[in-house]
Symmetry: C2
Subunit: 564 residues, 2 copies
């Protein structure tokens, strides 16, 4: 049976259900009871989705027939489900607990994971305690992480999520953690601005140690090290002295020990990972855990791993979508995308500390599931995932929410917390600042779902010519995730939930969510532009002899060469 | 003639043109020549859109018949085109040059604008020079802008765009500019972290001085002032002393002189604006120019106003879409949205300094044009604007570009610069870091448009089972904007281009782009949640007597009260 045939019952069901306004669905207490789920103090509220318990039954059927449970099982057991690259997909092994066993290619990878974690623990403790110092004996208080994509977005998300958490504040003391991702030299200038070279450690995150942006930035930072030290009177007289300097101030998360060594980094400062760790899952490996452990302490980040592991176990043991949060998130996402044909989703954390969650989820989801062929390579007759976007609430309310309420229909995902990391209780105010924030979190889903009728507007004596402008159609779906508080453990849970959601949606669409061939072509074409620039270092007039650009690109390149 | 009837010729044209792959359109040199436009050293390249010169002719016809030129004229001449609120839309007056004349309600507003600008110039010079000091005589080196939506996003965009510009670096010396937007107390903790109270000035941005988030944050900051001074031994003994303290450390952009005075801010520290300045255009008023002038100097920000004015004049004088950048941007945006039915657009600045451009454009565009009724209040039979999203390149390439190349079709807008604000030339590298960045800027549009065929993959000996995975369909539209460099003048041009694009698209869709009724309902519903919280300050069990929540919201509120 084709996927679309598999979805036929759901399509019929939706055609019927669409006739009932969400406002009316929400009035049904019995229905609502079946759509609120809880796991380990996380509440997933699906009452504001355009579904009923019966929808979940039909989705369960689709999940079973699409092989979702087998997919999950294969992933957890180390099967090579990334078929186009011949790799296992084992980020869950990165957060497996000591003593657990996950075997791939005949090896229990959990042992290797914990060996590396142990090395990260030691190394980060040594940096934090000042035991490992910079070239001139100063404590390494600043860390700049050089990496792009998964080697950047995920770490920045976690750093932002935790840096205002009181325990994290105490642990970070006067440490700085910064990121250098973009090859744009403006990013380099911002990442290194005001840093004392003697107190700065660079971490180069690149599995292959060949990522173009990361390696150019790494070389730029190595040069900065040498030049900054020179300004302080410490001059490197030969290659060995450069390597010694580099080895004091640079380390790496990479599997390419040959190239890291050539670069000047000794083996004990290189932290490996495995080909079954995809870039967008690498925060759980040395790529993320190393810099975050230096900033906050390894034992603090261990709770982050434990939070994810909690969700892993929750999913691995699932026998039904009901009550299983990642399965429910995925099935409802799939329903909105493939059955209701909605083409975007807004992720709206009511928490400023989650300001970098959405950019990471964009990568996680759109790189994983922005695909056009199934596992067998056949062109799909349906579209897969949607544009994921969002900003923290309430900021977004003063920005794009106008469209969410009165423009296109975009399913929304509200994320909130019962307690604030940094509560403010101001004398004379009716509620705390966090409650003021959460007043909005609780009201937006109702505003989207119920809307406001012309009758209500008339009752409020709104002038007739304004009634249609002030009318809210409602009937707009959303879901809410409510956590108790944002800490390393719940940050781990949140991220694991979204990771699994994406993977499960991929199983439903019968695609490989773990490759990313679509990013290759741009890189290849950039090479010929680079060569063209190389041939124009001292020219202000473009010469296209021997090149293969179309006339449009030639015209634009000419302008560039003229003004550069 | 209905709008849809007006678009019939374009629909037919598109149906025909869709049959030709963009790869083939791009091979036509004659076509390409007609699709590259230039104004004041800005190049707009439309060759990679799925259009020809004939498309532009048909779009011109639609522009004329939709009253676009009249719309522009009405806007510039101060007519009350924001009909639902009975207001003129005159942000162009904020950047009009001294001596120009724009009359609305019988007044030449340009005079008033320049009076206020003159006050901003004086005040910011006095702060910068240390003539106006804090309570204890210290120079006010830190500015925290309190505002949300348009009173935040636009200013942060400009600040980020300019803060690495060498001249701006020199002008900012050791000044700090920060933003407090979110009512989430985490944002307050971050905005004030590490600031010396004696050197800190708060600017409260709220036209009515009633915006809920902004006023709670303003009260929180006033309390912080008092408490921080107390810690330093400066204790306010009565209301007058508090007002004196506040008046030293707080000023406002607002029109509500009564409430600013009650708050403790004297009239000479309140900078007014006008009801014809929409929130999303307020960066050009005191809301933006005041903090940015304190940070970088008024004369520097004057260039920002001049850049926008350049685009205003360019648009005001337009007699044809051809060669007019805002008209072309709008018409092509409209074509992709309403004729090709694409439902998102990715805005991709190849410049790290534009990291906050997209969040601002999201507001500008989605709040303006996320509408469902026309000016007359009739429900539209078409959808208006799309989801705007994006991240700076090359970062985005390692994130969501997979979807852009092999997933859904999303028109892309590439923004690049010939010269970097902070060039890096590293010895031994084939090209500069900025050229490395721009290699990608120039190659992505070709990758999207031309794709990669199965024949090419076969020629590269890609194994048959991988060919479909590595196949790029191409035929994906994009446009490119190339500027010489990013400075206050071009930042002003860029923003004005996007502002006018949005307004013109609104004229095409026959909607009011200048109101935002859709943000009201959520605020109203938040009130009842606030009251509920107020009644539960010391309770951990929810009591819903007298409330009107549905059972779903009750369930979630119960959890919150239990765990708060």
């Amino acid at each position: 049976m084709s996927r679309k045939e598999l979805w036929a019952n759901l399509q019929k069901h939706d055609a019927e259900l669409s006739k009932t306004h969400l406002r009316d669905l929400l009035a049904d207490k019995e229905r609502n009871k079946h759509l609120i789920f809880e796991h380990d103090n996380i509440v997933l509220d699906l009452t504001h989705e355009k579904i009923t318990d019966q929808t979940l039954n039909l989705l369960e059927e689709v999940a079973v027939k699409s092989g979702v449970y087998e997919g999950v099982k294969k992933m957890f057991s180390g099967e090579k489900i990334n078929t186009t690259e011949g790799r296992a997909v084992l980020h869950v092994a990165l957060r497996a607990q000591k003593g657990e066993k996950i075997v791939t290619d005949g090896k229990n990878v959990v042992e290797e994971v914990h060996e590396t974690l142990h090395r990260i623990e030691n190394f980060s403790n040594q940096i934090r305690s000042g035991h490992l110092k910079g070239k001139t004996g100063r404590t390494l208080k600043n860390v700049v992480v050089i990496g792009i994509g998964g080697s950047y977005l995920s770490i920045e998300f976690v750093y932002e999520a935790l840096r205002s958490h009181p325990e994290a504040v105490a642990r970070a003391q006067d440490r700085k953690l910064r990121f250098l991702a973009n090859v744009d030299p403006i990013d380099f200038s911002r990442a290194t601005e005001g840093l004392c070279v003697e107190e700065t450690l660079f971490i180069i995150n690149s599995k292959t140690f060949t990522t173009a942006e990361t390696m150019l930035n790494a070389r730029t930072c190595r040069n900065w090290l040498i030049e900054q030290y020179k300004l302080k009177g410490v001059v490197c007289k030969n290659e060995d002295e450069i390597k010694d300097l580099v080895n004091h101030h640079m380390c790496a998360a990479s599997t390419n020990l040959t190239d890291t060594s050539k670069f000047g980094i000794s083996a004990e400062k290189v932290f490996g990972f495995w080909d079954w760790v995809g870039g967008r899952y690498s925060v759980w490996s040395a790529v993320g855990i190393l810099p975050l452990s230096i900033q906050f302490g390894y034992d603090y980040m261990d709770r982050f791993l434990k939070g994810a592991h909690n969700i892993d176990t929750h999913l691995a043991k699932a026998t039904s979508i009901k009550g299983n949060l990642p399965l429910l998130l995925a099935l409802v996402g799939f329903y909105n995308t493939s059955i209701k044909n909605l083409n975007a989703r807004a992720i709206l954390p009511y928490c400023q500390a989650l300001c970098k969650f959405v950019p990471h989820v964009q990568q996680l989801d759109m790189e994983s599931n922005g695909k056009r062929v199934n596992l067998a390579g056949q062109t799909l007759d349906y579209e897969c995932t949607v544009v994921n976007f969002g900003e923290p609430g309430t900021n977004g309310q003063h920005s794009f929410y106008q469209l969410l309420h009165q423009g296109r229909i975009v399913p929304c995902e509200f994320i909130g917390f019962c307690r604030s990391q940094r509560p403010v209780v101001l004398a004379g105010e009716p509620v705390t600042s966090h409650e003021e924030l959460m007043s909005n979190f609780f009201s937006q889903p109702d505003a989207l779902a119920c809307g406001k009728t012309i009758e209500e507007l008339k009752a409020e004596k709104v002038p007739e010519n304004l009634q249609n402008h002030k009318y809210f159609p409602g009937d707009r779906p959303s879901l809410s995730l409510l956590f108790t508080e944002l800490n390393p453990y719940t940050a781990g849970q949140l991220l694991a939930l979204y990771e699994h959601r994406t993977a499960i949606e991929g199983f439903l669409w019968d695609i490989n969510s773990f490759d990313q061939w679509g990013v290759e072509l741009g890189k290849v074409l950039a090479k010929q532009v680079r060569t063209f620039f190389q041939n124009h270092q001292d020219k202000s007039t473009a010469d296209f002899s021997g090149t293969k650009f179309n006339s449009a690109t030639e015209a634009l390149l000419s302008k560039f060469v003229q003004h550069k």
